[in-house]
Each structure stands twice: as C-alpha cells, then as structure tokens.
C-alpha cells in the first residue's frame, strides 16, 4: 500500500479506492460461499460412498476381512500425518494474514511435504493390499474400500497439486488480494479433507476390525 502514500498516486486512486475494497470484500464473500457449496456437494459424494461401504462393507465373498487386512498402528500414523498437515496449513493462514510472504511459503512447503507423506503411505498400503491378492476386484468389501479411500486420496492429491500452483502464484505475485482469497479456499479444502478422514478411519478402519 506504499504506492498510495505518494501524493499523485493518492489523488489518482482516492475515489475508486474505497469502492475497490468493497468490491473485493463482496467478491471474496461470494467466492467463499460458492466454494463452500462445492464442499457441501462433496459431502454428498462422500456420503454415498460411506453409505455403500456401510451396506457392503462386510460382504467378503470368502476373501480377507478388515480384521485380517488392516494394520491399525499404520492407520494411526496416517491419521497423525494428515492432522499435522492440517494444522500446518493453519500456520499458512496465520502467516498470510500477517502479510509475511516468506513464512507463508515456508509453511505451505511444510504442509505439502507432510501431505505428500500421507499420499505415499496410502499408495504403499494400496500396493501392499493388491499384492496380497486383496485388490478392489476381490470382494464387495474391497471394492467399496478402494473406492472410498481412493476418492479421499485423490482429493488429497488434488490439494497437493493446488498447493504447487498456489506456491508459484505466491512467489510471483506476493500476498495480493487474489492470492489471499485462493489461499483461503485452499485452506477450507485442506481442512475439509481432514474432516472426511475422521469418518474414514472411524467407519472403515476402526469399526472394520471390530
């Protein structure tokens, strides 16, 4: 905002300045609400997959059961990793609010790294299951399992991709209003995926081994 402190720049922007801010605020409010509606439709998408798992989650077709396949300590680490990544993004939000560009970038890099660990763990888990002959084609239980957990993983993967894009924009444009807004949406998305994971580990893994 230093540019506006110059006398000539000030006179130039004096009239449109408050209006521009109001327009910005209104746009942000509308954009956030629109993105929120997308998230709520995603809730419905996940609800259908949770419903499918609830219905066929114990149809093993003579194949392995959740109790035989799931390694709870491993899932607990995955859960901790995703939670850590979610909290790390909280620091992205805080740094962005304080207009600290370098700190924002650094925290986002950390969020990305921890999120990438989660994806690697999940891919390893899937690979391990398929190698054991417990792939998605083995039983209704495993079809539902791979679809549900895979859809969540795909969302996390998309979030990581989004972070790379945001990181580039942040490095190029700094914490401009547009970048701030997009970071806000990315934060909503990232925290939302952790909320979905709560239901995944409860319904699929914890109840699945009982």
């Amino acid at each position: 905002m230093t540019l506006l402190d110059l006398p000539e720049a000030h006179s130039l922007h004096a009239k449109q300045h408050p209006a521009a801010h109001e327009g910005d605020a209104e746009l942000t409010e509308k954009t956030v609400f629109g993105f929120w509606l997308y998230l709520m439709s995603d809730v419905v998408l996940f609800a259908t997959l949770f419903a499918v798992f609830a219905v066929v989650g114990r149809n093993y077709a003579g194949g392995p059961t959740g109790q035989e396949l799931f390694d709870l300590p491993y899932v607990l680490i995955e859960t901790a990793v995703l939670l850590a990544s979610s909290v790390a993004f909280g620091f992205v939000t805080l740094a962005a609010q304080d207009n600290r560009k370098q700190a924002t970038l650094l925290w986002m890099a950390l969020t990305f790294a921890i999120g990438a660990v989660f994806i690697v763990m999940e891919v390893y888990e899937f690979h391990h299951l398929i190698q054991e002959g417990a792939g998605p084609d083995r039983s209704a239980f495993l079809s539902a399992y791979f679809t549900l957990v895979g859809t969540h993983g795909l969302h996390v993967f998309t979030g990581l991709f989004w972070m790379i894009i945001s990181g580039i924009q942040l490095a190029r444009d700094g914490l401009a209003a547009t970048v701030q807004r997009r970071l806000g949406l990315l934060g909503l998305f990232w925290h939302f995926l952790d909320v979905i994971w709560i239901v995944v580990f409860t319904e699929v893994y914890l109840i699945g081994v009982l």
Binding site: A54, F192, F201
Partner: protein
Amino acid sequence: MADHKTEHLPGAGASLRHYVRGLILSVILTGAAFALVMMHVLPRDATIFVILALAAIQIFVHLVDFLHIDSSLEQRWNVYAALFALLVVGILVGGSIWIMFNAHERMNPGMPGMTMTPEAF
C-alpha cells in the same frame, strides 16, 4: 492483523489459539478412539457407539477450530448450506442402511449371521 483484504476470508479471525486447541483436542479424541478399539476395553456394540460419538465430537472441533465455522450473521448461509447437506447425508446414509438391511433380511431368511435364524421357523 487482518486488514481490509483478509477480513472476509475463511481464516479471518483465526488465531494460534484455535489451531493449538484443535490439535490437542484432536489428538485426545483420535487417541481415545484407537485405544478403545486396539485394547478391547468395552464390548463391541458399546465400542462402536463410543467411537462414533468421539468422531462426531472431533468433526465439531475441526469445524470450529480449523474451518472457523461459527454462528455469526456473516456465516449464516454457510451454516444453512451445511445443515441442508447434513439432511441429505442423513437421508442417504440412514436410508441406505435401513432399506438394504431390511431387503437383506427379507430375501435371505436363515442366512448365517442374520437376525432370523433357521431355528426361528
């Protein structure tokens, strides 16, 4: 802190306090759920009931401390949209479980593990 361009963002009003509180509560709630299942403290049905309750509480914690949903007027429409989504989820999940288990019982009387055992006939 939050100047003009950040006050309408999702994280507006967020503070370190929120994230620390969210983290501590999540660790406790998640840890309790895993411990209950891994150490077989309670009977099966009671365990399921308690870990579902723990999950519901943790979702609430995440919504408040990480997604910063509150009852302020500005967020009214977000909350309405969330409540409507919750209704759809209830119909989808509750309805599916209700209908499919009913159909299952009617179509396979006497299957092992069903509530209707062959002895009932």
